[in-house]
């Protein structure tokens, strides 16, 4: 059960080769930029095709190189929040959110939108364009849009990276609440150490397209597997032999 990911991909001289599993929990993909975290998330969502591998959530296989299965992204029912949020600039807040609720019949669709707008504190902003609301409000619109269809899993590509520190902490709490209310697996990319340790049930540390270490934040802090992981978690006090 849970999410199983095994991916291989070679593109423009970069080689990704990763395999990991998580339960119904919050998994953080942690590492420097360019380590292959976004690529992994895009392949889970079906936005990029792996050369080979498996993407499976519970019993459902979304990609299997061997069996020739490749479910298109629009049939994968995952919520995805992009680093730049990717709100549609030509649609109002309400239209952005409704756009995520495609196959829900009408009275239910609008009721859900109104419910989520209220729950996320977006009341009164329904008719504003994304360019007319604040950074924190944009974040919540992006989450509302991704969650309105009640997805089977939530994929988050550094959604808080553009926020100031206090707002970032607030969004962390917000994310914990989402985890609790929706009770779905969440995969979060970050290269912010504080964010990773506060939020992660499992941390998967990426270096150069492969996994250097995976486990709970405590385990990784206590016992980093190599110099690069130690550097990433700011444990430069530990010495590794050559």
């Amino acid at each position: 059960m849970g999410l199983e990911v095994s991916l291989k991909k070679k593109v423009n001289g970069f080689s990704l080769d990763v395999a990991w599993k998580t339960e119904n929990e919050l998994a953080v993909l942690f590492g420097f930029s360019g380590a292959g975290k976004t690529m992994t998330l895009q392949m889970i969502a079906g936005l990029m095709k792996p050369d080979e591998g498996i993407v499976r959530l519970d019993e459902k296989v979304f990609f299997s190189g061997k069996k020739g299965i490749d479910v298109p992204p629009y049939q994968r029912s995952f919520g995805y929040v992009f680093q730049d949020l990717a709100l549609f600039p030509h649609m109002t807040v309400m239209k952005n959110i409704l756009y995520g609720a495609k196959n829900i019949p009408e009275p239910e669709r609008r009721a859900r939108a109104e419910g989520i707008i209220k729950a996320f504190g977006l009341d009164g902003l329904e008719d504003r364009l994304p360019s007319e609301i604040s950074g924190g409000q944009k974040q919540r619109v992006a989450f509302a849009r991704a969650l309105i269809k009640h997805p089977d899993m939530l994929l988050l590509d550094e959604p808080f990276s553009a926020l100031d520190f206090p707002l970032r902490r607030e969004m962390g709490q917000f994310l914990k609440r989402i985890r609790r209310d929706f009770n779905i697996p969440v995969v979060l990319i970050t290269h912010d150490l504080g964010e990773a340790t506060i939020l992660a049930d499992t941390m998967i540390v990426y270096t150069h397209g492969s996994i250097a270490q995976a486990g709970s934040p405590e385990e990784i802090f206590r016992n980093p597997s190599c110099e690069e992981v130690a550097l990433l978690i700011d444990r430069t006090d530990i010495r590794f032999g050559n």
């Binding site: 994968r76 990717a86 030509h90 756009y99």
Partner: protein, 241 residues
């Protein structure tokens, strides 16, 4: 009495000439607008489709297709016209079977003028629309997919609305180009007064026969119209960048 009669006759002749002149200018203007409008409708449909494929998909020979559709932009219009005769002439590759089947040919009709304008204006539409589609943020398209919308729905709800300004600019430019088309039209539709003489062709005939005042006014009308179109196009293109 005699003077009176002479005056009346002169007035009558002058009036008739003026009337004929006016009519021929009006006819050319109306024909030009009609040809450009019909050509532009087809340019918009075909242009968006071709630009979409060029912007959004990868296939072998893609650049070749791009070059083929861009050629009318740089070829002398007479060469474009020549190819159109080879294709659509009464003995042409497409024109002959069509003539054998229906007994009709588009040569020397206003349809031929519209076809010539279509082919010459199409590259402008493709270039502008392709650039506009390519400039739509990849993440917005991906976001639409992850929100459950397939390729077609994403195109209609996200890609085309966000490329709208480029598409409008391309449409205006294409219309202006179609209005000004001369060489290929001359080859394919001829310059038949009252039938296929669009404004550029009429100006050519009038200037050749030395009727300068009429040439002046027609040239001025065409210049003002084209200037307005360019102004509109630049207003739209500026905002897409």
């Amino acid at each position: 009495m005699l003077w009176d009669r002479g005056f009346c006759a002169t007035c009558l002749i002058a009036g008739t000439i003026w009337h004929v002149m006016e009519n021929s200018i009006l006819f050319s203007m109306r024909l030009s607008l009609q040809v450009a409008a019909v050509a532009t409708i087809f340019v918009v449909i075909a242009g968006i489709c071709v630009a979409y494929v060029l912007a959004r998909s990868d296939f072998r020979g893609k650049e070749l297709v791009d070059i083929l559709f861009t050629l009318p932009l740089v070829l002398p219009p007479t060469v474009t016209g020549y190819y159109l005769i080879v294709l659509f002439g009464r003995n042409g590759l497409i024109g002959k079977p069509f003539y054998d089947l229906t007994g009709l040919t588009i040569m020397f009709t206003w349809y031929a003028a519209a076809l010539a304008s279509f082919v010459v204006a199409l590259p402008l539409m493709i270039k502008t629309t392709r650039a506009a589609i390519e400039s739509v943020d990849r993440n917005l398209i991906n976001a639409s997919y992850t929100l459950g919308h397939n390729e077609f729905e994403t195109t209609m709800s996200v890609i085309l609305p966000l490329a709208k300004r480029g598409i409008i600019a391309g449409t205006v430019l294409s219309f202006a180009r179609a209005m000004g088309e001369f060489g290929a039209t001359l080859m394919l539709a001829g310059n038949i007064p009252g039938k296929t003489d669009t404004m550029p062709l009429a100006i050519y005939s009038i200037a050749s026969s030395g009727e300068w005042s009429q040439a002046h006014s027609m040239a001025l009308i065409l210049t003002v119209m084209s200037g307005v179109f360019l102004y509109l196009a630049s207003r739209f293109t500026k905002r897409i960048v």
